[in-house]
Symmetry: C2
């Protein structure tokens, strides 16, 4: 029995097992769910043991544990594939708009509806079941290492330390992540770039305490006004980020890459439908999908200061605060951008007030070369398993783990999503198309087979 | 016995009566104190009857009542003086930092310490006791009308309707208000101008709901950024209000008036001490005290929009809001300034977002001519009663009642304060210097005598 036959024969059981995992409410952000998160880790570890992984370990962290499983039966000369995923989920409750209990999976219209069905229990479980099929059919052609964390939904705070501590053990030739979505079920998508982040606070101070705006307005520089002036100067009139040097480190888009990105780009009507906006804006010279995915941006995430209640309060506020975040692309670094924003804000700050820029969170951008062998292997796997060549996208968002894996372990990371954008990740009635679960298993089996054929030399070429 | 002798003879009783009034916690903003506010109105009405006012009435309003008292014994040919004050007070509690119960007056270091001692029970009671002394000494040389409201500390919401309804009855030749403070006990101050107000909200909308800043940042015009750009454009680089036409209606300061104002102007060191600010700002060509009192200004009272908590939330907010207020001077009108701001903001709003400017509160500016006979009478009264010629000030704040009295009744209004700036109005340990209470009574008696001598013809001249 070859692995595909095995997978087909055990398909109903695979689905039942996924339902078992989905019944565990492993909501990582809720302290009262810590026991359930632990239970999900143990369930995943037990399944990895059951399918024949040689070493399985629950690695503790200061938060929720990481599940590690290893099968090295392909031998030292064979390539090694590291598969990352997460077993934790977002919160969910009936009153959020769910049609049924989010932790009691039900099949409806060909979808398995439950929190985590797509993000990411269903997708990572497709990878595990592919490994089961390979091992049951006589062994995988590649060494397999699973790294499945329990804190993705709270920002992956502890995985970096695990990567650093386990660097030797995690050595591999490529890394695969199945935690993204396609626009349509027929057209697979590989996200080959994700943006990094420098999240900052700009605070402006003026008088020693809030003042009466009648008694002092017009002579004391108003910190809220100064903040507005600073924020207004962060972009030029055409939509470029005006922070000096901001674009210096940006890797330009090649014409080939632009053409590739254009193939999967949403239409303006789609953007309009998602946002309710009809007139768009941004950096001149770039299409909308390029601005979102391939160019760095600076957004105001929040403004506060003074009186924000109903009615009138005649206060001249002593301070005002803006939250801003820069999304970064290769080869920008968060610390350099933070430094550039700091210097620019210092220059913009009127002498009559004081200001400070604080770095709140940071993440490196991630980019996998389109012409890398790992990427070729992923394309071939989709062509065989999904029966369609994938399109390539750059994601506007940030998954810090991708850059961490690239930087800490020096691996090419391929984001092979088996989900759909419309799965409803993080929302009510999240679900996963059952046929996509099975196609994911098939495609993951193909990937191991193709990478095995390429060999280590082919992968590093 | 002349009125001054009468006042001197009854001084201890006057003080005891004031203490009685101060024991009534007539906090107008607290619903549970409505009974006490009513009790204070009745106490004031009873005292007006006791001193010989011919007609005393408690005029109901949808909120707290207005006390009206009238003595017309001087005859039709004599001038009539309308005296405005308020019997309600700000909240006060021991835990706010009071040394003793705020509603149990105590004498300490020559001060009577209690909530309302200066603002305004003590000052309006000095006016009532002056009337008592005049009537007891054979009748006042002027007709007297008292209008004492119970809602000053909550913004005088219902007095306008009373003024309109009682316009005939409230006819007078001048109006006096004792509800302001001097810088020092020796130097009386007349506030002859108060600023008006147009308090507005600017709201900017963009997408139909909050968006993920990674997924849509850089193509959707951020409402918080648009708001910052609008707010930043409300002033020019030198500190002038940039709203077109904003200064058009402003009555310019004469050289004489500037010289008069300079006499009582605080030093820059005093401004710095009060605000904690060392570098000042504002409209070029005007001194600090002129910017605050005699020039219109525009302040940002609050900014809000998006995420303002601790940490990072990567949201592109759907809307953002600024609270702004313009302080107006004669002869600006709130509705015209609102219109100017609306038009300017509409012009500044980028096409990719929508905005609205809403008028939240408004008040007219008030200005009494320095060379008016009423003002001359007040000066002469201070010279005789306080033994010092007053200096003149323009207040930066807003007392809507002053403009209402000027506009609704067509009266010259003179703000003859008998308090001190350091009395602690609205704060803990509010107090009133007992010697200033008595000097206030003396000065108020002098005012009636002087106005009586001037006659109606002299007053209108």
């Amino acid at each position: 029995m070859n692995p595909h036959e095995y997978a087909a024969a055990h398909a109903p059981r695979f689905l039942d097992q996924l339902k078992e995992l989905l019944r565990i409410p492993s909501v990582s952000t809720l302290p009262e769910r810590a026991g359930d998160v632990r239970r999900a880790a143990e369930w995943v570890a037990a399944d990895l043991r059951r399918i024949g992984m040689q070493t399985v370990e629950i690695i503790p962290t200061p938060g929720h544990p990481v599940v590690y499983g290893e099968w090295l039966g392909a031998g030292l000369s064979a390539p090694t594939m590291l598969i990352y995923g997460h077993y934790d989920v977002q919160p969910a409750a009936l009153e959020d708009g769910w049609t049924s209990d989010p932790f009691e999976p039900v099949e409806r219209d060909g979808r398995l509806v439950a929190r985590g069905a797509s993000d990411d229990k269903g997708q990572v479980f497709a990878q595990i079941k592919a490994a089961e099929a390979l091992l049951a059919a006589g062994g995988a052609p590649v060494n397999l290492k699973f790294l499945i964390e329990g804190e993705e939904e709270i920002g992956t705070p502890h995985l970096g330390a695990v990567l650093a501590a386990q660097r030797e053990r995690l050595r591999a030739d490529m890394c695969v992540i199945s935690d993204t979505g396609m626009h349509t079920p027929e057209q697979p998508t590989i996200v080959y770039g994700l943006r990094g982040m420098a999240y900052m606070e700009i605070e402006v101070w003026g008088p020693k305490h809030d003042l009466h705006s009648g008694g002092y307005g017009g002579i004391v520089y108003n910190p809220a006004q100064a903040l507005a002036e600073i924020v207004a100067a962060l972009h030029d009139a055409e939509g470029r980020v005006a922070v000096p040097g901001f674009y210096d480190d940006v890797l330009p888009l090649s014409e080939a890459e632009r053409a590739e990105l254009a193939r999967s780009a949403p239409t303006e009507a789609q953007w309009a439908q998602e946002t309710g906006v009809t007139r768009f804006w941004g950096e001149p010279g770039y299409a909308l999908h390029e601005r979102v995915g391939a160019r760095p941006t600076l957004e105001v995430n929040g403004l506060s200061g003074g009186f924000a209640g109903a009615g009138a309060k005649t206060v001249l506020p002593a301070r005002a605060l803006a939250k801003i975040s820069c999304r970064l692309v290769a080869n920008q670094t968060p610390s350099r951008v933070y430094q550039q924003v700091r210097e620019y804000v210092a220059r913009l700050t009127p002498a009559a007030v004081r200001s400070e820029v604080r770095l709140i969170a940071q993440a490196y951008p991630a980019l996998t070369r389109l012409d890398s062998p790992a990427m070729e292997a992923a394309c071939a796997a989709y062509e065989r398993g999904w029966e369609r060549r994938p399109v390539f996208e750059r994601g506007g968002g940030t998954l810090p783990v991708v850059a961490d894996l690239q930087r800490e372990l020096g691996l090419p990371v391929v984001l092979m999503g088996f989900g759909l954008r419309s799965d409803g990740a993080h929302g009510p009635d999240e679900g996963y198309r059952i046929d996509m679960f099975y196609r994911g298993i098939r495609t993951a089996i193909c990937l191991s087979q193709i990478v095995g054929q390429m060999g280590r030399a082919g992968l590093s070429g």
